[in-house]
């Protein structure tokens, strides 16, 4: 018995010793205080595959953030692109069919070879000529030729007038398919599209040191010559973290415990409920130090979309009726306890869009009238939200401007009486407290995403709750992601908590071009690029066509974008609730100076390619 006890005690001591040692190092054996641990959204099933041209490469696992570069990157705070591997924006001829792109000098591949226009020329031509390349069909439609003028100059000839070149081949949101690969390596391969590239030569500041064959982690190491990486040359600084470990942490409970134990520095996104537990760790932080904690700048707003090809959802009166039947304050409280910036336009009220469109359009929104002269815009929404939250004991600012920044410049009114009038105008009848359409009891369904995107899912449930209170017979239909998106694309839904509502830069063309009425497909056929809602509005289509021929630098693009937003308000194919609200936690135990509301040098978009531009700012805790 004594022997057994001694054995058990020894085992416990050994395990404890192992734990103590493990506390100083990461799972890959690097010193914890020199290693930035970033949460990987999902494990990758293509571990060891770092070739950005190969399909199935899981870019969000640090691959696009640390290894590969794009010609143009996005400044998420200003909502503007900037040249990254390119030296400047394209110089185009008068009809936008010939474009000169200058490539940045001084960048070196991680094997020491100079980065040049040859690499971009090779990568773009690979996409243009190889039918197996992911963007091949698109490039075939756009480009006539991609020629090398000299070592640092490219000439692109397009088959049509193409004023939005930088927007198409550079990053707007998350990433862009044109990640430049080394010509001196890839051109020697038999098939560069099936080459896994387990030890990639890159322009980014990190290289791959080690990876898990099972896809749970990837360990990146800072290049010794990081000053010659894209970040080094563009910003003149290099990241402080010598090691970066992208790692998955499993389910929500485990992720929470991981943050509490300081085993992670940067997380992707958590629910507000998880954050309530995480914030008991004094080192855990969020965008705001107090309520609302979350950041409101994710560039897609969440809300309710209508199937405009089905009656009565095809009638703008019906859509407006449903909007006014909802109490948006209650909806907001039900989503994230009021945290969120109201987004009544077709674009999200991110910080940049708030300045570019929302504030300049405030007066127009205030004076906007429905057909019967009714003004639906509630300018007092932010104050009303603040009062509700103050009653909960949450400290609220007195300043109107601050409240507008927190809750938005306004929202649609809650007016059941006007909603009733509008529904009746759309052909519905109210008998004994029940709604009828074409003589039959009226009911409809609301598609809700069940497994991800909590903001959208909770918004859908809140909307259903509001409509039921109003007296409508509506059934929520919870779906997995694939079924949910497929139903939208096929037009097989009534209403749904979709988000056809993204925007990040001033020129809105890239995000709204799918609403072109000429592209509408019949219900049951897959929609073309965005208009799953099948809104057929000739006025909108004409404006989109006009915008397609205008460069982002042309002031007309802004005028047209504003006019388009006004048409969306009149038609209301989508009722926006809030701009994308994200709870993105960080941990200040080992690293600090992450972007926050007090230091908003960038958005906390660790999963975007622009993460590499955040890295030089992150400092070790002394």
């Amino acid at each position: 018995m004594r022997k057994l006890m001694a054995l058990l005690l020894s085992a416990v001591m050994l395990l404890s010793l192992g734990t103590a040692l493990a506390g100083e190092t990461t799972v890959v054996g690097t010193p914890r205080n020199e290693t930035l641990i970033v949460e990987m959204q999902n494990p990758t099933q293509t571990a060891g595959q770092f070739n950005p041209m190969m399909q199935g490469t899981n870019m969000g696992t640090g691959i696009q953030q640390l290894l590969w570069g794009n010609l143009y990157e996005i400044d998420t705070v200003k909502g503007e692109q900037f040249p990254s591997l390119a030296e400047a924006f394209p110089e185009s001829n008068a009809d936008f069919t010939e474009h000169i792109i200058k490539i940045r000098k001084g960048i070196k591949w991680s094997d020491g070879v100079d980065f040049s226009a040859k690499d971009v020329h090779y990568t773009m031509n690979l996409m243009l000529t190889n039918p197996d390349a992911r963007s091949h069909s698109y490039y075939q439609q756009i480009f006539k030729s991609i020629e090398l003028e000299d070592d640092y100059t490219l000439k692109l000839t397009t088959k049509m007038s193409f004023p939005l070149l930088a927007e198409s081949i550079g990053v707007l949101i998350w990433g862009n398919d044109l990640r430049v690969v080394p010509e001196h390596i890839y051109s020697k391969l038999d098939n560069p599209l099936t080459f896994k590239d387990s030890n990639p030569v890159v322009t980014g500041p990190y290289t791959v040191k080690q990876y898990d064959e099972l896809g749970n982690w990837i360990y990146y190491e800072l290049r010794e010559d990081a000053q010659f990486s894209d970040i080094g040359v563009v910003t003149g600084t290099i990241p402080k973290a010598k090691h970066i470990l992208f790692q998955t942490f499993g389910d929500d409970a485990t992720r929470t415990m991981t943050m509490l134990n300081n085993l992670v520095d940067i997380m992707v996104e958590v629910s507000p409920e998880n954050w309530e537990v995480m914030k008991t760790n004094p080192k855990a932080a969020m965008w705001y130090p107090e309520y609302p904690y979350a950041l409101f700048d994710d560039p897609c707003s969440k809300g309710i979309a209508f199937n405009c090809a089905k009656a009565p959802f095809s009638d703008p009166n019906f859509r407006w009726g449903l909007a006014l039947a909802m109490d948006f304050k209650e909806v907001s409280m039900n989503i994230f306890n009021g945290a969120g910036r109201a987004s009544v336009l077709q674009i999200p009220a991110t910080a940049s869009m708030q300045e570019l469109y929302y504030k300049p359009m405030e007066e127009w929104l205030e004076n906007f009238e429905l057909e019967d002269g009714y003004k639906p815009f509630n300018t007092n929404y932010a104050r009303e939200m603040a009062e509700i939250l103050a009653k909960q004991g949450i400290e609220m600012p007195d300043d109107d401007a601050l409240l507008d920044d927190m809750f938005g410049i306004g929202c649609w009114k809650h007016d059941p009486e006007q909603a009733t009038k509008l529904l009746q105008k759309a052909g519905l009848e109210l008998k004994d407290g029940k709604w009828f359409y074409e003589g039959q009891p009226f009911s409809f369904t609301c598609n809700i995403l069940a497994d991800t995107e909590a903001q959208a899912g909770r918004g859908g449930e809140a909307a259903v709750d509001q409509w039921r209170k109003f007296g409508l017979d509506v059934t929520p239909v919870k779906m997995t992601h694939t079924n949910f998106t497929n139903a939208e694309s096929l037009g097989e839904f009534d209403v749904g908590a979709y988000w056809p509502s993204c925007a990040i830069i001033r020129n809105l063309y890239r995000q709204i071009n799918g609403w072109d009425g000429d592209l509408i497909k019949p219900i049951g056929e897959l929609s073309t690029g965005g208009n799953g809602e099948r809104l057929n509005c000739p006025e909108l289509t004409a404006k989109i066509h006009e915008l397609s021929g205008v460069s982002s630098q042309d002031e007309r693009s802004y005028e047209l974008s504003t006019e388009i937003l006004k048409i969306f308000v009149k038609e209301l194919p989508f009722i926006g609730f809030h701009s994308g609200t994200k709870f993105v936690p960080t941990n200040n135990t080992y690293w600090t100076n992450y972007p926050t509301s007090e230091n908003p040098y960038n958005g906390p978009w660790w999963w975007w390619s622009a993460f590499k531009y955040i890295l030089p700012h992150i400092e070790p805790v002394q």
């Binding site: 192992g18 099933q45 963007s135 698109y138 998350w174 749970n216 497929n486 799918g514």
Partner: protein, 333 residues
């Protein structure tokens, strides 16, 4: 002759079960209200939010060709039977195109087998041993205590048990990792095995505790009723020792159905242990199947489920064939 007829019939049943099973697996995913091309497009657009209409249409055309979804259903079915069922070549994973399904399964399967087979066999051995003692010597205090422990552990929902182990030994004590991060590419195999063991302790323990509870309860029930049989009483009258009665009479008669259950459990390990894999972030086939279903990755669904069907059918076949060796009363007839 009878023996050959018995084996032949069993083999025909085995082949029939596999054919029906894989045919269903081929048809069912195609009835999903989604398809892999749209899923891939939505995945790309959801991440970028910047694809214009021309780009989406172009990508859709391209993916249909690349994913091999342009042929008729019959062509797809015959290709699958020929290449998949007979050649174990299930084509590329649609969500990880062009990486072959076989390569991905091959990477995860050893970890699933290591975890599940080990825990099933240990749980079966310990559970049957304790169950036998508890049933055969049911009036002994030790038997009652062991049975009490089993009855207490077994009804605990698995995920609660797993979570408790994770919180106590991972979060609070820090003895074991909360999530599995195995050093799969470590050059030193010793480092790899040490990391594999360290990362597998909690997942294995959770499976073991629940599994053992079930084997104890089922074996106790079987052995206690057999211990009451006349031939056991007769053996006692003959003066045989309790140990011999337990081993040669009670165990041998009660183990048959446990062997069948073991065979089915071993066949089932190819499905992975989904909840274990989720709670402990343990790499395995269970999550592969889950992800494949969620993303309509037809080829991955076919690959993983086909292997599982073949494994379970084969395990049942093997159990049927070895019965006569375990129990002489059963003959090939």
């Amino acid at each position: 002759m009878k023996a050959w007829k018995y084996i032949g019939l069993r083999l025909i049943t085995w082949a029939l079960v596999i054919w029906i099973g894989v045919t269903f697996v081929f048809i069912i995913p195609r009835l999903f209200p989604s398809n892999p091309v749209e899923n891939m497009i939505s995945r790309i657009t959801a991440m970028s939010g910047t694809m214009d209409a021309i780009q989406v249409e172009a990508l859709r055309r391209q993916l249909r060709v690349q994913f091999g979804l342009d042929g008729s259903l019959w062509e797809q079915y015959t290709t699958y039977i020929k290449n998949g069922l007979f050649g174990f070549n299930f084509g590329p994973s649609l969500m990880n195109y062009p990486t072959p399904v076989g390569e991905i399964i091959g990477r995860y399967l050893p970890y699933t087998l290591f975890l599940s087979v080990t825990s099933v066999i240990i749980a079966w051995t310990i559970g049957n041993f304790i169950g036998l003692l508890a049933g055969f010597r049911k009036n002994k205090r030790s038997s009652k205590i062991l049975e009490g422990i089993a009855i207490t552990i077994y009804p605990i929902p698995y995920f609660i048990l797993a979570l408790v182990l994770q919180i106590v030994f991972g979060f609070l004590l820090g003895w074991f990792p909360m999530t599995a991060n195995i050093l799969t590419t470590a050059k030193d195999r010793g480092v790899f095995f040490a990391s594999l063991l360290r990362n597998s302790v909690l997942p294995a323990l959770s499976l073991l505790l629940v599994g053992t509870g079930w084997w104890i309860i089922s074996m106790k029930s079987l052995s206690s009723s057999i211990a009451e049989e006349d031939f056991v009483q007769y053996a006692r009258y003959r003066g045989l020792s309790e140990r011999r009665i337990g081993a040669s009479y009670v165990l041998r008669n009660s183990i048959i159905s446990q062997v069948t259950a073991l065979a089915l459990s071993l066949g089932g390990v190819f499905n992975g242990s989904l909840i274990t894999e989720i709670v402990f972030n343990y790499p395995g086939v269970g999550k592969l199947i889950q992800q494949a279903i969620l993303s309509s990755d037809y080829n991955m669904i076919l690959g993983t489920i086909t292997i599982s069907i073949i494994a379970i059918a084969t395990a049942t076949l093997v159990a049927d064939l070895i019965y006569p060796f375990i129990d002489p009363r059963i003959r090939y007839s």
